[in-house]
Amino acid sequence: MSDVAVREQRIQWPEAGVSRVPFEIYTDEPLYEGEQDLLFKGPIWNFVGVDVEVPAIGDFKTNFVGDTPVVVVKSSADTYSAFVNRCAHRGSTLCYEKTGNRDAFTCVYHNWSYDLEGNLKTVAFHKGVRGKGGLPDDFRTCDHNLQKLRVQELCGLLFVSFDEAAPDLETFLGPKMVAHIRRIFSKKVRILGTFSQYMHNNWKLYMENVKDSYHASLLHTFFTTFKLNRLSMQGGLVLEGDGGHHISYSKMATDSGSGTDYESGSLRAQNDEFALHDDRILKSWPEFEDGITHAIQGIFPNLIVQQIQNSLALRLLIPRGVNGCELVWIMFGFESDTQEQTDIRVALSNLVGPAGLVSMEDGVIGSFVQRAIVGNQGRETVLEMGGRSVESQESRVSEASVRGFWQTYRKYMGL
């Protein structure tokens, strides 16, 4: 017997490379299990929360890395700790609340108690009762701490990693991604609200959708009709490193839609019969000096930083089995916002979320794929918009960042 787990390689990547993706990638159960170990617990950084969610010592937030439950806690004035949300004794969930404050984490099952860094401090009845029972003399509490994760922070965004081999956070993100995060998170964040939605598709279908700048004005009637985001605006794709992270951006003031499919009225997503009775929902102000009005940043594997006009959000995608996923939205502004600016951000947030005027289509399109690829194994998706390679491009009529996602995915998964 080998003591090394041998994972059977069931999926063969097409010879065409990242311009093809086998449909089994969204339906294969063993692959899903492999993703938990090789990807989410691999040498990467996973977003778990924002510093303002846990401002005081003892403040904690529960979240997930892949589908593994974790706790992140402010453990001292300048330290954050994170650990798997699972008692080291019998594996019970340690922390049931989404957020809260604790001076220690105590398991409800047998009262084992851990400090804010996840160290086992006390074991109930460790000496038994009246000299009978209890733990053996050679039991050492320090051998039974919670499973700890590394924590690193950038501009108040907290990331964790299971893997000692993960490079430091900024190296993992790369300079272009770090610069974009610094651009958005330049001031103290104020969270306006959070919500989540369940989607009936494999998590990777949603990440592809996020990275697919080609679809936005074709699928989303609202974007195109109200001229918020059209491919005829100046914009582009910025890819980082091997293509896992991307930014898709556009500048609304630069629309040159004349002479395109937008003007000829041939696009399903353009419906000039639609109008708004109250257009205050689309009020915005120029917030960033670079003129960019729409920027979607995808951080590999499952974080999105959103700027849609003045609607700012973090989205974390949690895999929920091979056929489902949950998207957690954190809508935010800044402490320095005026009330009018906050009102604009809140009004614009009608565009996003599970019933968002734009995002509702993204919430369902993955399940359109998921239900159609059942029983169609051995076939594959086609990704040739903007060529077959992975690089930054001037045009968003491109699937380059989707190919970039797969190039990076294959690297971690050994596919």
Binding site: A104, T106, T122, A124, K127, V129, G131
Partner: protein, 106 residues
Amino acid sequence: MSWLNVARLSDLSPEYPAACSVQGHRLAVYLVDGAVYATSNICTHQFALLSDGYQENGEIECPLHQGRFDIRSGKALCSPLSVDLATYEVDVRGDEVWVHIPDAGH
């Protein structure tokens, strides 16, 4: 009557406290170096009976979180304790252990 007969001296052990319940008061009664002491039997941190705890060197360790109290003074000696334990005056009359409960009234 605020003095109550709570235990027999011959029943006490220096190894662990005796649990006594009198008129709604839950007491732990200890034998330390031949002398008898009484405290509340309920830990001041969370609900746990100190009579289920571990007695050593004049201290009682709570079974739940291993907080330790000085048996003689009731003083809380370590985290997670922050509140001292109530102690009671004891009078040994022959084999009878009497404890003074201030609010036992009458």
